[in-house]
C-alpha cells in the first residue's frame, strides 16, 4: 500500500501513514498545491496514477475527497464510485455504496483498469498496522491555468460550538410553528451548552437559516444527545441525525418515525414539554 499526499503542508502525515501500514508515501510538491484547488488536486492524482500505475485509488468520502476523485476520474476517463461501504475485489469488483445519504445501499459492479473510489464516513475504523515507511517525491506538471479554482481567500469561522461539533443539539421541526416559537428551544440549548438545529421544513418556511438545518442536504450531526422536538423523522432529516449517540424524541404522535427510532421519547406537545424541562433544570440547580 502506497499513499499520495498533496502539497508541502501534508508532508507531516508520513509518520502517521506508516503507523497505519503505508510502505511508501509519495509526496507531491508544487506551487499550485499550496492551498486547496479541486482542479490542481485532481490533475495531480491523475498524473500520479499514470506514473505509479496502481490497481486502485482510495480517498475519504468527504466533500473534498469526492470532488478531487471526480476530477481525477474525469481526467483519466475512468469510473469513480463514491461513498463505498465494502468491496469484494476480483477482476470486476463488487462494491456496496451508500445512496440517499445512507438510508439505502446500492450494490454495483466496478470495471476499470484503475479503480477509483471514496470510502463512506465511519465505514471502517482506522487500525494501526506499523511498517517501516519511506517517502519519495513525485513531481507533477500542472497547467498554470488551474490556479483559477484554487481558494483565493478564506473567511475563518468565528470560534464557538457549531452544529457539527456540539455535544447537545435541540432540534425543532414543523410543529414548532414559527421563527419566534424557537425561543424556548434556544433557552434550553443555551442552558446545557448546546445549539439549536432544525428540519428542512423549518428552513423551507424561512423560520431559520439553512446553516441550522440537520439533514441530508444540511449538516450531519453527532452529538452525545439529540433532542428532536416536533420532528417526524423523514429520511431527509434522519440521515443527518442518525450518527447522534443518543436521541430523545418529543412528539405528540407516538407513531412518528422519530419516536420509533429514538432511544428515548416523551409523548407530548413540545411547547409544553420543553419549558417544563428548562424549569426542572433551573429548580435542581437552585
Amino acid at each position: 500500500m502506497h499513499a499520495l499526499t498533496l502539497g508541502v503542508a501534508a508532508d507531516g502525515l508520513a509518520g502517521e501513514l506508516a503507523a497505519h501500514g503505508v510502505a511508501v508515501v509519495h509526496q507531491v510538491h508544487h506551487d499550485l498545491l499550496a492551498d486547496y484547488g479541486p482542479e490542481a488536486w485532481g490533475e495531480s492524482v491523475a498524473q500520479a496514477v499514470r506514473v505509479l500505475l496502481p490497481g486502485s485509488v482510495l480517498a475519504c468520502g468527504t466533500d473534498r475527497g469526492n470532488e478531487v476523485m471526480a476530477q481525477a476520474a474525469a481526467r483519466l476517463d475512468v469510473p469513480f464510485v463514491a461513498n463505498v461501504m465494502s468491496v469484494t475485489a476480483a477482476d470486476v469488483w463488487d462494491v456496496t455504496r451508500v445512496r440517499w445519504g445512507g438510508s439505502l445501499l446500492e450494490t454495483c459492479t466496478l470495471t476499470a483498469d484503475v479503480k477509483l473510489l471514496t470510502v463512506s464516513h465511519h465505514a471502517f475504523e482506522a487500525a494501526e498496522s506499523p511498517v517501516a515507511g519511506t517517502t519519495a517525491t513525485l513531481s507533477v506538471d500542472l497547467d498554470p491555468a488551474l490556479a483559477r479554482t484554487i481558494v483565493a481567500e478564506r473567511v475563518e469561522r468565528a470560534a464557538g460550538v457549531t452544529l457539527a461539533t456540539a455535544p447537545l443539539v435541540v432540534g425543532g421541526g414543523r410543529a414548532v410553528g414559527s421563527a419566534e416559537a424557537f425561543a424556548p428551544l434556544e433557552e434550553l440549548a443555551a442552558l446545557l451548552g448546546g445549539v439549536v438545529g432544525c428540519s428542512r421544513a423549518v428552513t423551507n418556511n424561512g423560520w431559520r437559516n439553512h446553516t441550522d438545518q440537520v439533514g441530508q442536504t444540511g449538516t450531519r450531526i453527532a452529538p452525545d444527545l439529540y433532542m428532536a422536538c416536533g420532528i417526524s423523522g423523514a429520511i431527509q432529516h434522519w440521515v443527518g441525525a442518525m450518527a447522534s449517540k443518543k436521541i430523545l424524541a418529543i412528539n405528540t404522535d407516538p407513531e412518528a418515525n422519530m419516536v420509533a427510532k429514538a432511544d428515548y421519547a416523551v409523548i407530548g406537545d413540545l411547547h409544553k414539554v420543553v419549558p417544563a424541562i428548562t424549569a426542572e433544570i433551573r429548580r435542581r440547580r437552585g
Binding site: P38, E39, D63, N66, E67, M69, A70, Q71, A73, A74, P79, F80, V81, A82, R99, W100, G101, G102, S103, L105, E106, T107, C108, T109, L110, T111, A112, R148, T149, V151, A152, R154, V155, R157, L168, L192, T203, H210, Q216, T217, G218, L225, S232, A234, I235, Q236, K246, N257, K261, Y264, A265, V266, I267, G268, K272, V273, I277, E280, I281, R284
Partner: protein
C-alpha cells in the same frame, strides 16, 4: 448572461424508502417526485442571476419522459427554456449521464452560443454519485468548484463561496464556468399561479441522449441495516420533565 441549470427528477420519500420486489428501484407507487434539493436551489439561483444581470436561463434534465414535470416546475418559477434528454429508465450511470449532457450542451451551444454559467447540484439526493457536473465541466474545458453557497458575478468573472468546517472558502474564476451548488445558497420561491399556467405552454426541446455504458453498473438496491432498538418511554407531557432531566444527568449533559 446565459445560464444553464441541470437537474434530476428524484422520488420524494417520507419516513421510509421501500424497494421494488426485484431490488432494481425505489418503489415509487405511493411517492411524489421532486427536483433533487440542491438542484431546486440551482434553479432558483439561475432565475435570480438572470433577474439581476439580464439574459436567459435554460433547464436541462436527463431522465424519463415524466421528468417533464421537473422542467415545467423550473419554468413555473421563471426559467425561460427547457430541454429533456429522454431515457427509458430512471437514471443512467454517471459516466454515461455526463457524456450525454456534455454532448447535448455542445449541440445547444453550437446553435445558440455559449452558456456563461452552468449550474449543477452538488450531488443528487438519490444516487449521490458526486461527479456528473465535474465530468461535464472537464469535457467542456471549463472550471468547476462544488459545494457553492454564494455566487457573485463581476463582469467576466465569478466569485463563489463554499462553506467548510473551518469557515468560508472564496473562489474567483473566469466565465464561462460551471458550479455545483448546495441547498442554502437561497430559499427557492414558490411558483405563482401565473407562473404555473405559463409553464404549461413552454415548448420542451428534446435531444436524444448519446453516451456509452460506464464502468459502474448498479446491480441492486438493499435497505441499510438498522439495529431495531426499543424506545424507552419517559412519560407524557410536561410531567415527564423530571425523567428527562434525570436522563440529562445520567448522560453527563447536565453537570
Amino acid at each position: 448572461m446565459k445560464v444553464l441549470v441541470c437537474v434530476k427528477r428524484v422520488p420524494a420519500p417520507g419516513a421510509k424508502i421501500n424497494i421494488t420486489a426485484d431490488g432494481q428501484a425505489v418503489d415509487t407507487a405511493y411517492l411524489a417526485f421532486t427536483t433533487s434539493p440542491h438542484e431546486e436551489c440551482a434553479v432558483e439561483e439561475a432565475v435570480q442571476l438572470v433577474e439581476q444581470h439580464g439574459g436567459e436561463s435554460t433547464v436541462l434534465t436527463l431522465g424519463p419522459a415524466e421528468a417533464d414535470e421537473q422542467l415545467r416546475y423550473a419554468a413555473s418559477i421563471g426559467v425561460n427554456k427547457a430541454v429533456l434528454l429522454p431515457i427509458d429508465s430512471a437514471e443512467w450511470d454517471p459516466q454515461r449521464t455526463a457524456a450525454a449532457i456534455t454532448s447535448a450542451i455542445q449541440g445547444i451551444e453550437s446553435a445558440d452560443g455559449p452558456f456563461d454559467l452552468i449550474l449543477f447540484g452538488n450531488e443528487s439526493a438519490d444516487a449521490g454519485n458526486f461527479q456528473v457536473g465535474v465530468r461535464v465541466a472537464y469535457a467542456l474545458a471549463r472550471p468547476i468548484v462544488n459545494g457553492i453557497k454564494g455566487i457573485e458575478i463581476n463582469g467576466d468573472s465569478i466569485t463563489a463561496r463554499r462553506h467548510s468546517d473551518a469557515g468560508v472558502e472564496v473562489y474567483t474564476m473566469p466565465m464561462p464556468a460551471v458550479l455545483g451548488v448546495k441547498e442554502g445558497i437561497n430559499l427557492p420561491r414558490y411558483p405563482t399561479l401565473k407562473g404555473r399556467l405559463g409553464s404549461k405552454k413552454i415548448e420542451v426541446g428534446q435531444v436524444v441522449p448519446q453516451g456509452v455504458l460506464g464502468g459502474q453498473q448498479m446491480v441492486s438496491l438493499v435497505q441499510s441495516a438498522e439495529q431495531a432498538s426499543a424506545t424507552v418511554m419517559l412519560g407524557n407531557g410536561p410531567e415527564a420533565a423530571p425523567a428527562v432531566v434525570d436522563l440529562l444527568e445520567e448522560l453527563g449533559i447536565l453537570k
